[in-house]
């Protein structure tokens, strides 16, 4: 839903710093008061020390959170170091950084939430935040203190060097190399803007059920935006790669891919036309088309909206909703993928969750509150943008398993339709199931063959209807590897998606009316 979030304007003061961020040239962490523990051999007391706290303080905070009788409390410490260095007009002449440090305290009573956070990690400020969050509860029952036990997490995003140890001088050559390649590939290029954003996000979560987890979440995105000009006409194109990985991810092949694909996405547009609009068959290319799953079914399967009774999928568990060759998964465990998490933001283990198996609706994506409501185990989907927000059920990497058809036979089966290749954004009204996604580039299909390139087309459909209308699924699953975000209730989290080549028998394509 399109509710304006005021929170977004916090930090807008450094505007122009859209990608607010910390340059890793800081050899000494700016938060010198708190040592960053090495990944190996660290113990729980090192993790507490990272935030300048210890177990006794954590226990006092937990007690303050539950002093008015909440059912549950969690404490979410975060330290995030984000850096951006950018190239514009052939010069690496801008760098932005952002350091975030704070703690969020949540108290739950039934399915009601009390939340408060502070950027001040003094014992007094943390306890005050806990007391504020405790105000949601009124029942006066008391929760017994339990032993705090550290649960080590698996590592789904191995990397060689922590991002804060990678100096800006190591990043600059990547930008220069990509820029050089971009301009060597086509004479029509007039502008390129290249961004290198990276992040190290430390979280320490303690729950009143005694779970303690610690995680370091790396992220990097290189994005390339190009403008080309031909006979007075201009076009723009874009490409990005954005894994949870270290700098070693950017091999020479990937650098070539970044430059090559960004240029292709720009130059191809000179031949592109707007299609005629209306209902038609569409074939979704493998990869980024997973945005279809994200919008058509993913959001409707996030259990908060089902709990509130507003999802169109609210009473469909166990029922067939698609052809038997359709299986859809939300998976937080794919190595180095952008939507992967070792542990969710409520200290629950990440997992691979079947949403649809052989056409049958299997499971929602849960956070703690919705899992309690439905009396099921959490699925590890409780995520938040930062310590400033209470968690919500959110997607991770959402994809469809390969099906029985080949890409060629799928395209050949279409008389007149659209082949959608690259996408920029999507949106959904969860209740009615109406969703859209925006096709930046694609081609028309005429008599079973790919023909004219097309561009700037919005596709709109109804989630459950489109799922029923998936009539062919290819054997060529590909994951999207770009820099994807998902926004919901004013919170942004990293996600990815994937799809094999798929055919939808009918959907409305935005075009020119004749």
């Amino acid at each position: 839903m399109a509710r304006m979030s005021r929170r977004e304007f916090v930090k807008a003061g450094a505007k122009g710093v859209a990608l607010a961020t910390i340059p890793a040239i800081f050899k000494l962490n700016p938060l010198t008061a708190f040592a960053t523990p090495a990944k190996e051999n660290a113990t729980l007391s090192d993790y507490y020390a990272h935030f300048g706290v210890d177990e006794s303080l954590v226990r006092q905070v937990m007690a303050a959170g539950l002093e008015r009788g909440g059912d549950y409390c969690d404490i979410f410490f975060e330290h995030r170091i984000n850096s951006y260095v950018g190239l514009l007009d052939n010069a690496v002449d801008r760098a932005y950084s952002d350091v975030d440090l704070g703690v969020g305290i949540r108290v739950i009573e039934g399915d009601q939430t009390g939340y408060s956070f502070t950027e001040d990690l003094s014992p007094k400020a943390i306890k005050l935040a806990a007391t504020t969050a405790s105000n949601i509860a009124h029942e006066g029952k008391s929760v017994a203190a339990v032993a705090l036990e550290f649960h080590p997490s698996p590592d789904y995003y191995p990397l060689k060097t922590l991002w804060e140890d990678v100096g800006i001088e190591r990043k600059i050559p990547y930008l220069e190399k990509i820029n050089e390649k971009v301009f060597s590939l086509d004479k029509r290029l007039v502008k390129s803007e290249i961004g290198f954003e990276d992040e190290g996000w430390y979280v320490l979560i303690i729950t009143s059920e005694g779970r303690v987890v610690y995680d370091y979440r790396p992220m990097v995105t290189i994005s390339v935006n190009c403008i080309a000009e031909e006979k007075g006409r201009r076009e723009q194109g874009y490409f990005s790669l954005g894994p949870r990985a270290g700098i070693e991810y950017f091999t020479p092949e990937r650098i070539d891919q970044l430059a090559g694909q960004a240029v292709r996405n720009t130059i191809d547009l000179f031949e592109a036309v707007k299609p005629e609009g209306g209902e038609m068959e569409i074939v979704l290319a493998s990869g980024n088309s997973g945005i279809l799953l994200h919008e058509a079914i993913g959001h409707g399967m996030e259990a908060d909206c089902n709990r509130k009774g507003i999802s169109i999928y609210a009473d469909k568990i166990g029922k067939p909703i698609a052809e038997s060759f359709v299986s859809i998964i939300d998976d937080g465990t794919l190595p180095n993928y952008r939507g992967s998490i070792n542990v969710d933001d409520e200290a629950n283990p990440s997992q691979k969750t079947y949403l649809v198996e052989d056409g049958i609706l299997k499971s929602y994506m849960h956070d703690r509150i919705s899992a309690g409501h439905y009396k099921v185990k959490p699925t590890g989907n409780g995520r938040r943008q930062s310590f400033r927000f209470a968690p919500l059920p959110r997607m991770r990497n959402t994809y469809m398993l390969p099906g029985p058809h080949t890409k060629e036979e799928i395209i050949q089966s279409v008389k007149k339709g659209l082949y959608a290749e690259s996408f920029t954004n999507g949106a959904v009204y969860i209740g009615a199931g109406d969703f859209t996604f925006y096709v930046a580039t694609g081609r028309m299909i005429e008599n079973g063959r790919l023909t004219r390139p097309v561009k700037d087309i919005n596709i709109i459909g109804n989630g459950p209807e489109v799922l029923r209308n998936i009539v062919m699924v290819g054997n060529d699953l590909k994951m999207y590897e770009g820099g994807g975000y998902c926004g919901k209730d004013g919170q942004h989290v990293l996600i990815s998606d994937g799809l094999p080549t798929c055919k939808v028998s009918s959907i409305t394509v935005g075009g020119v009316a004749s």
Binding site: A2, K27, T132, I310, G426, A432, I460, G461, G510
Partner: protein
Amino acid sequence: MNKSERMQLAQWSAGRARKAGAADAAITVANQRDIDVEHRDGKLDKLQESTQNYLALKLYVNGRYSAHTTCDLRKETLGKFIEDAVTMTGHLTEDPFRALPNPKYYAGRREVDLQINDPFYADVTSERRVAIAREIDELTRSQSDKIVSATSYYSDSHAELAKVHTNGFEGETESTTFEAGVEVAASDGDKGRPQDYEWRSFRFFKDLATSQVLARAAVDRVLGRLGQTKIATGVYDMVVENRAVSKLLNALTEPMGGYYLQQKSSFLDGKLGEKVASERLTLIDDPFIPAGLNSKTFDFEGMATRRRVMIDKGILKAFYIGDYYGKKLGMEPTTSSSTNTVFEYGARSPEEMLGDIKKGILVTGFLGGNYNSTTGDFSFGVFGKLVEDGRIVKAINEMNVSGNLAELFNQLVEVGNDPYVYSALRRPSMRFEGISFSGI
């Protein structure tokens, strides 16, 4: 942090940056207190309270530039943060256009009370906040038995900011915002659960819309969507409601920004002084509206704000040019971003405008879609109403509207008399002729 502590911290940080080797620096220190209440289906759902602080730092070091933010304002860590930031800036390439604005642009700041800070803020109690949210929730659900869920919201915010530039700028602001509204879902049989919302923002508590008004508006909207279907692809006349038309206006004004012009990614590049819209469109940037949601006497680069006609009867008169991209483009700066936007409003209400429509679509909202700033091409998902012979016939959804922004705004034939005052973009409803819709 109080007013003088905030200004002192900004000055201290500026001094520290200079001592570390920066030629110049711009510092912003801000604090903000937020309280949010959500009430759902008869129960308090969420209470959130917080105070946030940040320091933003722009550094000019040897002709090089970088910018940083942190929420760790302890002087011992902040000093180190600033020193390290100055050092890293040295690795960048020189940029001859990076400098603080010429102080002449700071001059002439208007001495005026913008009325953006409500002293009553301190007297609003927690009980009152929860009571407002509860009342909206209850009133919403009592309007119709078709409602399956209502979530009401109340929130308020108090923000303070101090800004210092080492070449002579100092500025401070203090403002409040009060917001209330409700999201509602209704049952439409097996056709799903359409949702809609009503949500309004104000600078003063006393101006908040009554719970009855918010509840009624949200429920009218969602019930109006029952039975929605798509209709035939074709060319229709279009009226876009004031609340919704921001989607189209933002697509027009964003490419009027200096960054887009300098990066050759604006379809309006080179069009200054030319006709870019029908003569019905006059768009004015007005930073001085009393209690305006984006009223200000200086922009985020410290430049004194002025009232400016941006589009005059369809003629493009000015771009939104900040100091840096102004220097790169060789253009005089205007303002780095829009403040409040007002229009030359028409004589008729949207209902009267619909009276002239033989066959058309009233757009009440957009869903997704995007536009291409370089070419002006757009394609957006829409929902709304089918209008025949001046009457609303049925609800429609799952359709797209597509075209080119340059053409679209030339197809504007009328603007309404109904500025949407709950936003800094005070847009009226707009009527267009001959627009392509895709449906069945």
